[in-house]
Structures are given as C-alpha cells and as structure tokens.
Amino acid sequence: MTPLASSFRALAVALVLVASVAHADTLRRFALVAGNDEGGSGTRPLRFAREDARKMHALLLRLGGVAPGDAKLLLDEESRDFLAALAELEARAREAQARGERTALLVYYSGHAKDGSLRLGDSRLPFEDLKRRLSGAPADIRIAIFDSCRSGALTRTKGARRAPAFEIESGAARDARGLVILTSSAADEDSQESDALRGSYFSHHLASGLLGDADRSGDGRVTLFEAYSHAYARTVADTAASTAGAQHPTFSYDLAGNGDLVLTDLRASGEGLLVPGAAPPGTYYFVDPGGMVVAELDKAADVERRVALAPGTYRVKRRLPDRLRIGEVQVQRGRAAVLEEARLRDAPFSDDPVKGVARDGGAWWTLGFSGTVQSFFDAPTRDTLFLSVGLLGVEAQLHDYFREDWVWGVDAAVGGKQAVLALPTLAGPGYRYSVASLGTTLTSEWPKGSLAPFVGARMAYLMMRRDFQDEAFPDQKFAMFSPGLVAGVRWNPLPRLHVTGRARAHFFQYTVDEQRSLGYWELGALVTYQP
C-alpha cells in the first residue's frame, strides 16, 4: 500500500465519521459487558478479565452514550446468565425499534475462549451459536468485541481482516446496519494480559483509545474504526517482543449501508484533560494513584488533544531518551483541566510512577505475615516436651521464577507459651517454652480463578528452648532440621493481596534422651502483599 493510498483511506474513514456524527445522537445504545477470569478445565485463570469488563462498562456509561438502565455488567457469570442478559437487552431494543428509534447493541466479553466456544467458567457458548444470535439480534447495529484467546475464530469465516486493511463503502449514504465483530487475537493466537497494565493489552489499548488516544481526527469523538485501528496497532506493537509472540486483533463486518459508529464522545461528560497544541510531542501516560496506566496519548506537534479522564488525580509521564518528564494533574467533575508543560519536572527513570514492573509471564514476589499453630502428633510429646504453640512470622515468596506456578518461599516464625512441667517424678516447675522456626518451601500451584490450591515440600530448622523460673533447673534447648510436606490454597481477593490457608506435616528427629522419630503438624494462615 502506497502512502497516498493509505492517506486516501484515512480520509475516507474521516468522511464516514463526519457522516455518522449526525446519527450518533439519535442512536439508542444497549451494552452487555461480561468478564470472567475462569475458563473451566484445561485453562488457567486470567487475572484481569473481570477488571477489563468493569473498566469497559464504566467507560461506556460515562462516554459511550449508554444509559445505566441499558447496560448489563456480568462478572464471573455463566453462559446461561450471559444469554439471559442478552435476551433482556434484545427485548428492550425491540421495544425501542417499535417506537421508531435506531438502536445499537454492543456486546463486550473478556475471558476465555477455546475449542470454538467462549468459556464462561465451566459453561460454554459456541462461537457459531453466538454469531447466529447476534446476527439476528433486533438492533440496527450489533457490535461484538471479544477479548479472549483464539477469538479470531469468530471472524475467520466471515472475511476477517486485519486492520487497518479494512475498507468502507464510502459511496453509500444510508446508515450502517449489520454486525461488526472485533476480536483481540487471531484464531490461532493467545490473548495476553499484562501485569504492568493490569489488564489485557487489547482491552487496555481499546479503552485508552476510547478515552481519546484514538481520536486521530481530533473531533472529540472516537469511532469504532478509530478505536479498533488504534487498539490493533498498539496491541501488535506491545506484544511483538513477548514470549508468546505478536497478538493480532481481527475485525469483521457484515454491514448493509455505510457509516461509522461513534463509540465515545470525549466531551460527553465535560470533564477530561486538554493537552494543548503547544505541548511537546510524544507519548503521554496518565497514571492513577494506584500506579496503573489509565490512558495513553500519542501526541503530534501542534495538535491539541483531549483525554476524557474521569475525575481524579493523575500523574502524567512523558518519556524522553534520557529522562522522564512527570507531573500531576487534577481532573474535576464537569471541568476540563489543561496540562501545562511548565508543571512537569525532569525525573530519572527510577522515579517512573508506573508500577507493576514485573515481566509479563515472569517472576513476581510477595511479602507477608503468617499465623500458625504447631502441634506434635504424639500426645506425651506435646504435653511434656515440645508443646503445642502459636507462631507469628514473616514470609517472602517468589512466584514463577523456577517454573510457571512454582512458588519458592522463605519464612521465619516465633512463638511460645508459659507452662508447668508435669512428669512422673517431677511436677510443678513453671517455665517458658519458646519456638523459633526458619523454613524454605517449594510448592506447585494449580490456579483456578482467584483460588490456587498447592502442594509442596518444606525444610524447616526448628529451635526450641525452655527457661525455668526455678534456678534449680537448667534452661534447655534443642535444634533440628525438619523436612515436611505442605498443602493449601492461596486466595487472591484483590489484585495485590493474597490470603493463604495451609497445612504442614513435618518429620522431626529427637536425639537427646533417645533417638525418637517424631512428627508435627502446622495449620496456618498467611497474608501477603505483592509489591
């Protein structure tokens, strides 16, 4: 394709957009947004599918012209719930059509897809059934966006084309009617998530584009084609160097008539951030207080750009070859803030406000506190020698370093209690029993959604001592290495918070009075934070 041809196509798209604007205001929009981290057997849980759905739902309500009552958000729901919600929106669309309104139905799904079906938890929704359903849906325009592995199979049978190589019939004057399907990856590709972005590449760039980065025309509106071409280019670029290889979103349409569809109106809510034309060109990143990149903006010289950020405080970052330019901007409700270059300052790369620096698919670590109950199996031993005690400790874990889903941890814990000795010929001396434990554990996890059962092995070094109040009895101590097994479940209720429940069983060789093979168990809970 020559540069001239490319420019012509861009112009054609722009003309289409202009034509569509007049209709956007009269279009009744319905949205079904679903996210499911689970994909049932044979799949690994996703980390950000639900979060992607939440973000997309909020964005459509705020900027996409979708009334709250016309939107459905499904998180971790199954296919029957998905179809039920779709049926409800279809019914409403049908009623709206009966009243003469033009209607659009947008379906967004982030989650698993495999073997020709969407995988909503343990349930499945075959691609063909869904396509048939969407094709017959009572809305003038049906837009389906699938951010899932191998979702390109949805477009393969109907002229899937890789953007920006799609074409629009520019000669037609009537409104577009029909079905458009966007998928995050080709039929033989996985869709990739990013720890740094805390979402999938595709959904992140789609959302970022809808917030303004995709508004190449600068008219304050982001059309479906703008959003898609933006998401395509950025997704391919970001995933090109990944171990899984480049991910190529796909696009298909079956439209009668012509015309693009405005997906978001950047001025709809009034609030946002204006980047003046005088601001230096480059890529701007807008980071929320949690360190997450909410939007990006690729700004050209002397072009004013607008990013429809929600009210809040953001850190702004622009990367230069040798340093960063960073600053803070406040977006107030209903008002557009202006980014002033003078309020940015130079900063070294080490001050990058973007968190989540873990390599995608790479190792990550956690640090936390534990509470454990330790008790020996042998009753006389736990009554008179090594007592049952509670332990408090700290623990650090390294995930996915040696191998995916393997966790290596190191831990230290201390505990103790007051006790009174009761032996056959000696009862009554009071003493304090103390235990200190150092351990290292290697476990293998089987993540299932937010839960990850695990088993593994542990080597502990136990140090026990007892200090008698009566000086007639000497303080005593004992130390021994202790191999053991561990099993439990790690729960990930929040993106960086992990709660683990576990049980351990250890072998323990006692060597003082006699050689005795003992064993003890531990039940514990661990709360860790992923920095």
């Binding site: 008179t384 020698l385 000795l421 032996l423 056959p424 010929t425 000696l426 009862a427 009554g428 001396p429 070094y461 026990m464 001592r465 007892r466 009566d470 007639a472 009895f473 000497p474 005593q476 101590k477 004992f478 130390a479 021994m480 290495f481 060597t511 003082v512 009075d513 006699e514």
Partner: protein, 319 residues
C-alpha cells in the same frame, strides 16, 4: 563444590542437637538442694544477742525478760547444721551446672573429669533410676586407673513423690574410705561418716544429720530439723556434759527448740543424765528473744514463772 557441600553438611550437623530432656530434669530433681535440707531460722533471730552453749556452764539462772539462752543455742546450732549441709552439697554443685556426659534410658553419667581441686584424682558422678527411686554416687579414682577402681565419696538415694524435690532420701559422706584412699578430706578428718536422711514429701518435713566420729569411739552426734505448716521450725539435738545445776555431776541433755517465723520460740530441755536426771526445763521467748515464760520441774517452790499463754502454738509440730 564438593568441599562446600561437605562444609554445609558439617555446619548443619553442628547446628542440631541440644539438651532438651525431661529425663535430665527428673534426674536433677533427685538431688537435694540447700533449701531442702537447711535449717530455716526465723528472720527475727538474725543479730539477736544471746548465749551459746559455753555460757550454759553458768547454769540455768534465767529471769523473765532476759535474752533466752536456749534461743541463742538454737541459732548457733542451726548455723552449724547449715554449714555441714553446705559442705556436702557443694560437691554436687558442678553437676547441676553441666549437662550429662552420657545418657542412657535410666542412667546419667557426668564425667569422668580431672578433679581440679585434687589433681591426682579423676571424678565422675553417676545416677541411676529404677522406677521412682534414684541412686547416685560421686566417685573418684586415681588418674590412670581402670573402671573397677572407682570408689564413692558421696552416695545418696531419693524416692521421688512428684513435686519439686518432694520425696524421701538420704546421702552420706564416706570420710573413712576417702582417708583410706589418701584423698584429702580437710576439716572432716575427725569423722568417719556424715549421714543425712530426709523426707520432703509431706509436712512436717524432716532432715536428720548424724556425725560419726573417727574410729566410732563414741556414739554419733545427731541433729534433727523439722518444718511444719506456717514455717514453724524445730530442732532436736543432744548436748553432753553440761553443768546445769550445782552438784557433783555434769548433765547430758536433749534439747528441743521450736520457733515461729515472727521470732517467738519455745525450748524444752530434758536431762538425760547427771545430778537431776529426768528433770525438764521449758522456756518460751518473744519476738525479741526475751524470756516470757519458764518452768523447772525440779523446783518445788517456784516451778513456773511468767505467763504460759505467751508461748506460741507449735501443735503443728506434734505430729
């Protein structure tokens, strides 16, 4: 790399083990401590002026309100009693402060060690257990001799009855054997044996000490200490050749003194032989050690003085 692994293994092995042992505690519990055997004199008697046995030669001429000589005798004898106990138990101090050298299910051995105080001798301490009874021996041998050369300077046993050092026991010092082995015995050379029997499992507790003089030329000198509930104490001992009253003979007397924690006390002196054989003298004193009551069985005209009601209640020691 192989050396590193070996070093790590050695380090790990060195970091294992310890002295965490219930049996050790039970063995140690069989050894008496000073608080089990020593006479617990009343705190009020500390620094109190009083006579000793030597002043007794002036006879029993005591008046109400004067310092009780019996009280003074008791304190002095109690301190001597405790000195003997301390001397005996000092031999066991090193055992308490170190872990056994070898452990078997019913046997512990400390040593053998070179005896720093007696360079020509090795020393070891052996304890054996049979159910609730523990036997122990402090043994010596000349350095370089074999296992059959060990001889016991100190022997003891303890029948445990649970509780902290609660039970019945005895220990003895075989000075005669030590002398035969040319083992330095210091100030004990006048003795053949020193024996202590005790029971601490129930009140009143009892500690009995017997000094057997060298050559057994005279009867052993015996002291007995008992302690009852309420920290009431009692000592019994005999005193030979005391000139209690004017007459041609000296008296052998048995003295029983009892005292309360507040310092009050009672002494009963029975004449075993002499001019007034069979006579009995009783004296009570207050917290200041001053006589409040006295009774002389041989004095027909003035058998008692003072108020008998001023005497403390020591019935807990009558069991």
């Amino acid at each position: 790399m192989r050396h590193l692994a070996l070093a790590c293994l050695c380090l790990a092995a060195a970091a294992c083990g310890g002295d965490f042992s219930n049996d050790d505690l039970e063995f140690l519990n069989a050894l008496p401590q000073r608080e089990d055997l020593a006479v617990k004199l009343s705190a009020a008697s500390e620094g109190r002026s009083g006579g000793g046995l030597t002043t007794r030669k002036d006879g029993l001429v005591v008046r109400l309100g004067e310092a009780s000589r019996v009280s003074g005798d008791t304190d002095k004898t109690g301190r001597e009693f405790n000195g003997a106990v301390d001397g005996l138990l000092s031999l066991l101090e090193n055992i308490r402060n170190s872990s056994p050298t070898s452990r078997e299910p019913d046997r512990r051995v400390w040593g053998p060690f070179k005896d720093k105080d007696h360079p020509r001798f090795d020393v070891r301490f052996v304890m054996e257990r049979r159910e609730l009874r523990f036997d122990y021996r402090l043994e010596y041998r000349r350095t370089g001799e074999g296992d059959d050369a060990w001889w016991a300077l100190l022997m003891g046993w303890f029948q445990a009855d649970a509780g902290i050092r609660k039970g019945v026991g005895a220990l003895s010092l075989d000075v005669k054997r030590a002398t035969e082995e040319t083992f330095p015995v210091g100030g004990l050379f006048t003795l053949d044996r020193l024996d202590i029997d005790y029971q601490t499992k129930a009140l009143p507790t009892r500690v009995e000490m017997a000094f057997t003089p060298r050559g057994s030329l005279t009867e052993p000198t015996r002291y007995m200490y008992r302690e009852a509930a309420g920290r009431l104490g009692e000592m019994r001992f005999t005193l030979p050749d005391i000139d209690l009253v004017v007459g041609g003979r000296l008296e052998d007397v048995a003295l029983t003194t009892r005292w309360a924690p507040d310092g009050r006390g009672m002494g009963v002196l029975e004449v075993l032989d002499g001019d007034i054989k069979g006579a009995k003298y009783t004296e009570c004193w207050n917290a200041l050690g001053r006589v409040t009551f006295l009774a002389r069985s041989w004095d027909f005209f003035n058998p008692t003085e003072g108020d008998r009601g001023s005497c403390a209640d020591f019935s807990a020691l009558d069991e």
